[in-house]
Symmetry: C2
Subunit: 120 residues, 2 copies
DNA sequence: TTATCATATGAACAACTGTTCATATGTTCA
DNA sequence: TGAACATATGAACAGTTGTTCATATGATAA
C-alpha cells in the first residue's frame, strides 16, 4: 500500500530497520503456503482451460475432455486437483459426474490475469 | 458469466452442441500460455514473499534476502524470473539494485487470493 | 589499478508435476 | 447377473522448477 522511502543500506548492504519491519509484516508461512497452493492451481494450462470451460457451463468429464482434446483420464486427474483446492465441485447424475465452479473468486482472478496479459 | 442448463450428453457421453460451443469460446493457446506463465509466478512461496515485501517498500537484493532468511543468490534468481514476467522492475543505485513492483494487478491478485484462503 | 562488496548467472542436482497406461470403481440397462 | 460405459486412481516416466555452489560482472573507493 504505502511506499516509504528509506535510504540506502549501511551494514553489508542490509538496512536493519527496514528488514525488521518487513520481517514483521510478512505473512506467516502457513498463509504463504495456502496462497502458493491456490495460485499453483491456476498455473497450468489444462486447469485454466477446465476452469474457463466451467465458466461457460457445468460439464461432465467426457465433455470437458472432448472440448480440450484431451484424454478423460488426464482431465479427471486435474479435476481431482481442482476439487482438492475447492475450486470446483461435482455431482453424480447416473454414469456422469458433472463439475462446476465452486468459488466466486475464480472469475475475478482470471479476469485480472487476462487484464494483465492484455495490457502488454 | 451466464450459465446455461443443457441436459445430459447423448453420444458416448459427449454432448456435441455444448462441446462445440465451448471449443469455440475457449481462449486460444497463446493466451492460455500467457495466463499460465503469469499465475505460475504467484505459485511459489519465495516469489510471493518477495512480492509482499515489495508491497511494503522498494528494496535491494540483500535486504530482501535478509528479510526472507534466504541467500542473495536464490533471491536474485527469483527476481530475474519476476522481472521477466514484468511483475517487478529494478534500478541501479551504486552497488545496489533496487527492486519495486511494476504492475497494478499484483496487489489485486494477492488480495483476492488472500480473500479466498481466509474464507475457508 | 586493486580490493571489496552487491548482484547476476550458469551448471548441477533434488524435488515436484502432468501425462499416459493399466486397472479399479460405480452406474445403467439388458 | 453380466456387459458396457463413465469416471477414478495408482504407478511410472519425462519434463519442469528452485535451490545451492562456483564464478562472473559491475560499481565504488583506496
Amino acid at each position: 500500500m504505502s511506499k516509504e522511502k528509506i535510504d540506502t543500506c549501511k551494514v553489508s548492504c542490509i538496512h536493519e530497520d527496514l528488514v525488521a519491519k518487513v520481517k514483521k509484516e510478512l505473512l506467516p508461512n502457513e498463509r504463504i503456503d495456502d496462497l502458493q497452493s491456490l495460485f499453483k492451481l491456476f498455473g497450468d494450462g489444462t486447469r485454466l482451460l477446465i476452469l474457463q470451460a466451467l465458466q461457460i457451463c457445468e460439464m461432465c468429464v467426457c465433455d470437458i475432455a472432448a472440448s480440450l482434446d484431451m484424454s478423460p483420464s488426464a482431465v479427471s486427474h486435474q479435476l481431482r486437483v481442482l476439487k482438492g483446492g475447492r475450486l470446483v465441485k461435482s455431482r453424480r447424475e447416473g454414469k456422469q459426474a458433472y463439475y462446476s465452479l465452486d468459488d466466486e473468486h475464480i472469475e475475478q482472478l482470471l479476469d485480472i490475469g487476462l487484464d494483465h496479459i492484455s495490457h502488454q
